[in-house]
């Protein structure tokens, strides 16, 4: 049993290394590749289980895809599997990014590169806006949510409060608000 776990972990590591090389645009493409490899081809898990991993992965802190990899790896091959999946998925992006940083430092003072970078930087705000639009629907559900969002915006712009603290305040506000709602429903 132990042996098969280790060999499973190794096979997970190899597959996740490969997946890690070809994932652009966030975690969803990784989920799609996991679906193809492990649900359709190898039948290690069902669609429902994969969905559970992604939704739990999204609701625990950190990288959604790192979390989903750990949940899947643990399910398939225990702790070694979890480690194999996480480092398999993480190592390729780290190596590629190190190369990019090296190139970035070489070329960033080049005149043409800095002109192009002015354009690239101008595109960042639209990119953030397009991501924000997708979040609005799931994040802003009622008046309470609008209030929290406005408070967070004001705290960011007008105080020097640490953003991590703002997240914790948001969590606290969510817990209190839902508690109040539950009591109201009961009575």
């Amino acid at each position: 049993m132990k042996d098969s776990r280790l060999s499973r972990a190794l096979s997970i590591f190899a597959t996740f290394l490969k997946i890690g090389c070809f994932t652009f645009g966030g975690g969803w493409s990784i989920v799609a590749q996991m679906q193809k490899e492990y649900v359709e081809k190898r039948h290690w898990l069902s669609d429902e289980e994969l969905l559970d991993y992604t939704s739990v992965g999204r609701s625990t802190p950190g990288l959604m895809i790192g979390n989903a990899s750990v949940l899947f790896g643990y399910h398939a091959a225990g702790v070694p599997g979890a480690l194999a999946a996480l480092f398999g998925i993480a190592i390729p992006p780290i190596v590629i990014m190190l190369l990019v940083v090296y190139i970035y430092d070489l070329v960033k003072d080049n005149l043409y590169v800095s002109r192009a970078m002015v354009g690239v930087r101008a595109a960042v705000v639209p990119i953030i806006i397009s991501a924000l639009l997708k979040l609005l629907k799931s994040g802003l559900k009622d008046a309470f949510c609008y209030l929290v969002a406005a408070a967070a915006l004001a705290l960011c712009l007008f105080t020097k409060m640490n953003n991590a603290l703002i997240v914790l305040l948001g969590a606290l506000a969510g817990l209190c608000w839902q508690e109040v709602q539950n009591r109201r429903d009961l009575s």
Binding site: I94, Y104, L172
Partner: protein, 179 residues
């Protein structure tokens, strides 16, 4: 020690964010308050991270760590951002069935999501001030503004992918900007 500082900084970012764009405000905050990067460099991170494979948060950690303290810094920062997966999520994996039914996490997220949205709005304000600054009327750069509007249009109206949009923006930058 810079490596420990980087590790702790990205550990904090990891534990208080929930992946993707929700990480940008926290990374922005940490980079600027430590003086590790300027707002323009944070914009470079976002653009470069969107064009290389892997999750955004990990890309940002590697980039920021490497720019601040070389390869060892990159590893320290990356390990920091992966630590929540290695600890909390591994625990959750062991108690998956119980965790799935936990109402507490859902209740907390009900407040965290809008807080993240508010913080992202703040980043948009900050990034706009950093990236559209220039000589026009004393404070606006018209090439940057035009490129921003074109990018917004292709992203929203024509559903272009982000890497494709960034390439277009770079091309426009080469043509329009004379520094």
């Amino acid at each position: 020690m810079i490596y420990l500082e980087l590790y702790l900084s990205f550990l904090l970012i990891g534990f208080t964010s929930f992946g993707g764009m929700s990480m940008i405000p926290l990374i922005n905050d940490q980079m600027l308050s430590h003086g590790w990067m300027t707002a323009a460099e944070v914009a470079d991170i976002v653009a470069i991270a969107e064009m290389t494979p892997g999750p955004l948060g990990l890309n940002c950690a590697t980039f920021a760590g490497a720019r601040t303290a070389g390869t060892a810094g990159a590893l320290a920062a990356s390990l920091g951002v992966l630590t929540p997966s290695l600890t909390l999520t591994l625990l959750a994996a062991m108690f998956l069935e119980k965790f799935k039914q936990s109402r507490l996490m859902g209740d907390a997220l009900y407040g965290i999501r809008p807080a993240c949205i508010g913080m992202i709005f703040a980043v948009i304000v900050q990034q706009s001030m950093a990236n559209y600054a220039g000589p026009l009327f004393g404070f606006l750069s018209w090439p940057a503004l035009v490129i921003g509007l074109v990018s917004l249009a292709v992203l929203l109206r024509f559903k272009w992918s982000i890497p494709k949009t960034i390439l277009l923006a770079a091309g426009l930058g080469l043509i329009l900007c004379r520094i």
